[in-house]
Symmetry: C2
Subunit: 316 residues, 2 copies
């Protein structure tokens, strides 16, 4: 047991309308493809950090999810992306916030972590760093998809005079699923090391400059070999105020809770009292996986070594 | 006891060389002046949130401390400022990161909190928001002081080819105190509400775009009426990775520690294993104040209602 790997991912949580199996098929395929990317790393004995990054790159590159290509738009019809990664074996972390030309923000976050001088780089400084490190730079239009632009226009039309709406209002007005499309992955490798990665385009019609929980260690991403690795998705401001990712760790560390109890209790006690909605994926040091959410659905997939890969959207 | 207010502040922690009483006099005066600004709010029955903001504004306006006027420079000889604030009674929070023309970043953080749509606004978006809200905008040169520019040039000369040095290297090369000049305040008001505020110019010779723990809820600033209010100062990257401010809350919440034990244990167990140095100021829901640090000194001042204001630099 202790030597088996485990990996989980999410493609966002929110008010997802039940559809037909045909509607869900492309999402399930994309989720399982991303899972396979991380699984391949872990099966050849690779590390949890490499696995979660490979998984998130796959999700960033897929236009179905709100991260990388296919990210949602700001109120000014731009894409501003956030991503963060953490290595549970060293507690090293890296993040970028508000970046607009880095093809894969999670790779820039990883590079910030490896560089080691900073944990979070924002905006122009992050982009310059990414260029210097040779990461792939794209035109801002790379991230844009017609679907997301239509979402923005629908939200703006419904918002009327309000140029920027809050997250709850956007959720209430936007009839297209998924509501909150952040992506993320957590993994435990065969060596017992944990890692977490999260990446997002944020919120449709968000205020320019708004930074999400995805790039905040302890809010939307956290990993510690002593306890768990966590990636969050949902109403980001509430995850920041609730320090949800670190709260799950703290419950395991100080209350000696298991990963399922800690994750569920954190949603119920740290997130919900703030009006927060969404979900988390967490893997414990023992390889157990928890994926609680309080929204109607959360795109997710998971695998424990030797078992069949699973994908799901709604509660079991 | 339960109805008495308490307030504490810091003006940075680090490797501070012992000097004469005359050397310390201007720092002590500035610390006590800032304390008096918060005290005045609390004595007339005002709230903890208003008190910590008034205190931090005073410290931002003082050129002695690394926040607002007198902030340290980036590697490109610019000033990029971060600030965050949190209201323990509502768990509302606001922050700005990487701002360059807002005279008092802590007032912009407060405005982000009051606006409520976002928790953290970065860079250009934060500055535009501040303009729209009528906050005082200044030329970037407002923040610059000859002393800080000399510090930058000294660090850069010592760094040689390395355009940007890490925090430890900067500390080792920079012979002028204080090393880490973040400012912050915590308070408990007569109504039992807690609040925390933190503001910084960051690190001398920092990489452009580097965001500090000061604007990260749970890292450099946190407040919760159920437990404590916390403001941190030191090697910011380590405070982010250790989620130090939230860790102190979690120890009080889950381990039922008092504020002194939680603060001291968090420095020893969440910060030091990461190589972190610096200190925290914390006020508990019972009005007790803790100010532990593992650096040679921390500029600080504190007051409990009915007692004499105190200021200190080194360990007692």
């Amino acid at each position: 047991m202790a030597s088996l790997f485990a990996i989980g991912l999410h493609g966002g949580a929110g008010t997802i309308a039940p559809g037909t199996a045909a509607d869900e098929a492309p999402y399930r395929k994309a989720l399982l493809d991303a899972l396979a990317a991380g699984q391949a790393v872990l099966e050849r004995g690779g590390g949890a950090l490499e696995a979660v990054v490979a998984t998130v790159v796959s999700l960033e590159d897929c236009p179905l999810f709100n991260a990388g290509h296919g990210a949602v738009f700001t109120s000014e019809a731009r894409n501003e992306l956030d991503a963060g990664v953490m290595d549970g074996s060293t507690l090293a972390a890296g993040a970028v916030a508000g970046v607009r030309v880095i093809r894969n923000p999670i790779l820039a976050a990883l590079e910030v972590m490896r560089d080691g001088r900073s944990v979070i780089l924002g905006c122009d400084g992050a982009e310059r760093f990414a260029r210097e490190r040779g990461l792939q730079i794209v035109e801002p239009s790379y991230f844009a998809t017609p679907h997301r632009l239509a979402q923005l226009r629908a939200v703006q039309a419904a918002a009327g005079e309000r140029a920027v709406v809050d997250h709850d209002a956007a959720a209430a007005m936007d009839d297209d699923a998924p509501r909150f499309g952040t992506v993320g992955a957590v993994a435990r490798d065969r060596h017992g090391h944990l890692a977490a990665a999260t990446s997002t385009g944020g919120l449709t019609n968000k205020m320019p400059g708004r930074l999400s929980d995805s790039s905040i260690v302890g809010a939307g991403v956290y990993a510690n070999d002593a306890t768990c690795a966590v990636s969050c998705t949902g109403t980001g401001e509430r995850f920041i105020r609730g320090c949800v990712a670190y709260d799950i760790h703290a419950r395991m560390q100080y209350l000696k809770q298991d990963v399922e109890t800690a994750s569920g209790d954190s949603i119920a006690q740290a997130l919900e009292p703030l009006g927060g909605r969404g979900g988390v994926i967490a893997v414990g040091r023992d390889g157990r996986i928890a994926m609680p959410f309080n929204s109607t659905g959360m795109y997710r997939a998971w695998l424990r070594e030797g078992e069949t890969p699973q994908a799901a959207v709604f509660a079991a």
